[in-house]
Symmetry: C2
Subunit: 324 residues, 2 copies
């Protein structure tokens, strides 16, 4: 029976034995049994990556394995949660041992980095798709929400923006670092844990800065001024842009505003906490950059560094409408 | 941008507002925040249904919506857990309002029946597939495991076996009840909660009785005698079999042993508890039937009601080898 092949795959994932004390029963029963810690609430999220929709078909197995977990850890980071357990639903067209080895190695390498244990899942035959579900812990009063920002607070973002978007649009970005930003995003877990103590609101930037900052502001019916020349861009991004012809440069220069796939954190901090927060994020992967200010007027108003208003061509997803 | 359609779908699922006190933040943030109850451990499971693999392409949206949740609740039932929260990863090829209405209505009807709240998920575009993740609660000392059976204990099964398998193999089973058993399995939650007090081991029958009983026995390196004429078969199953020609009847008579998709519970109970257990399961949907005895010798030995040994043609999945 063809399904027996898939039992082999299941054993492939079961062989990994990162063991946490709070996992009473892991893979191999009808359900896992997990002990949630006292004094914490569970943060739970789930994301699906579909071949040809969320990643180009030629994406490596390692990139898919890493990214499927990373995008979920990024959601936990945006809640200020400490990751703990993951579940994996893997649908693959065939039993390809080399592909599975590369996929699972990358998945477990990232899982081990944050002491995340795979506690269950399902492997099925079908068109390539990966759904990961992740659990994290956070003290209830410290959880970061999308809502909570107040007018006058500063808007920050971790890391750099637009790298993944540029890598996706250039067949050969000429710099492997950009491609790595697309394929192997680093969830900002450490930053999220620090931000528990400072941020009034947070979201992860997966759909593009304008769209995701829009979600954060919408929840409080707020707006913002955004300094687009202050958006953090990597040296690799700037270097790749410089060698482009002017037309493509024109197409790509808004990628930091709307490309998505950044998996950075966007968050708001009251002015009196900003100094201490910046000090604590200094030296943590990604760091942070002050990019704007929360305002009572709805909409996101973009400005150049000479103070001139700037109307972006991109506005993120349609249900977010900027009103410059 | 085409993705905006999918935001509409997301709102479709977010509109359902079954609210549990232990859901601090539900759909709409980067992650849900959930309060696990004191004195309980979490039972967590996840299952994927892929179109054309786990259900025929012509399966109704309502059946898919019900079954995707039901198969997970069945896993929780097999642990003796009380269902609480679910997450949904839905991949659909297009935004078909009628399909989504029927799918979500059926999903939420079953969820409401067990006070399960949808706390998050992801809707993506791609080949039709549904992954559901479910959380339940169980007192740690009462959780039902696959392991724990002892020689001499009785083997039981809830409900009837083979109905779904027969419906799947007959284009028109001539009885809608059989089709309903395939499309709308009833998770044996109530039975699982009762069995917390009696069963030494339990598993849900999803791959076929021989395969799943095999898993239960394997975990303790045990075996069993099984009385195949005692297997519970529904009146609808027996009626449909009677009007078949002898060749098909010959093909189908082992469906209760190996067809799968039953979503009944198979469990073991020490003899001294059987009377009380049977009384408590009497009147609970599915009831139970005594079908065999756990033995120290590995392998499953099947017998007819005249005591003659019977060697099944089916043996479930290959990694389970029966040794009659």
């Amino acid at each position: 029976m063809a399904e027996s092949e898939f039992d082999i795959i299941r054993y492939y994932f079961a062989r990994h034995r990162a063991s946490r004390d709070d996992v009473l029963v892991g893979i191999g029963d009808d359900a896992a049994l997990l002990q949630a810690p006292a004094g914490r609430v569970l943060a739970v999220c789930l994301d699906t990556l579909v071949a040809g929709v969320h990643f180009p078909p030629e994406t490596s197995a390692a990139a898919i394995g890493h990214k499927a977990l990373a995008v979920n850890l990024s959601d936990l980071a945006a809640m200020g949660a400490e990751p703990a357990w993951a579940m994996l639903a893997l649908t693959v067209p065939e039993n390809d041992a080399a592909w599975l080895a590369a996929f699972s190695d990358a998945f477990f390498t990232l899982a081990d980095q944050y002491a995340v244990q795979l506690v269950g899942g399902d492997t099925t035959r079908g068109p390539l798709a990966v759904t990961v579900q992740a659990h994290g812990f956070v003290p209830p009063e410290k959880a970061l929400r999308r809502q909570g920002a107040r007018p006058g607070e500063r808007i920050y973002v971790t890391g750099t923006l637009g790298d993944a978007g540029l890598a996706l649009r250039m067949n050969d970005p000429g710099d492997n670092w950009l491609r790595k930003r697309l394929d192997f995003p680093e969830p900002r877990i450490e930053a999220g844990l620090v931000l528990r103590d400072y941020a009034s609101a947070a979201i992860d930037v997966s759909d593009g800065l304008l769209a995701d900052l829009g979600h954060l502001l919408e929840s409080g019916r707020l707006g913002a001024s955004l300094w687009i020349d202050a958006l953090p861009r990597s040296a690799a991004f700037l270097g790749a842009m410089q060698v482009l012809d002017p037309e493509r440069r024109g197409q790509f220069h808004e990628l930091p505003l709307g490309a998505g796939d950044d998996y950075e954190l966007c968050f708001t901090v009251a002015e009196q906490h900003c100094g201490e927060m910046e000090k604590r994020l200094d030296g943590i992967p990604g760091g942070c950059r002050w990019i704007g200010v929360v305002e009572a007027d709805q909409g996101i108003r973009c400005y150049r560094d000479d103070g001139a208003p700037y109307r972006p061509a991109v506005s993120g997803y349609q249900h977010f409408s900027s009103t410059p």
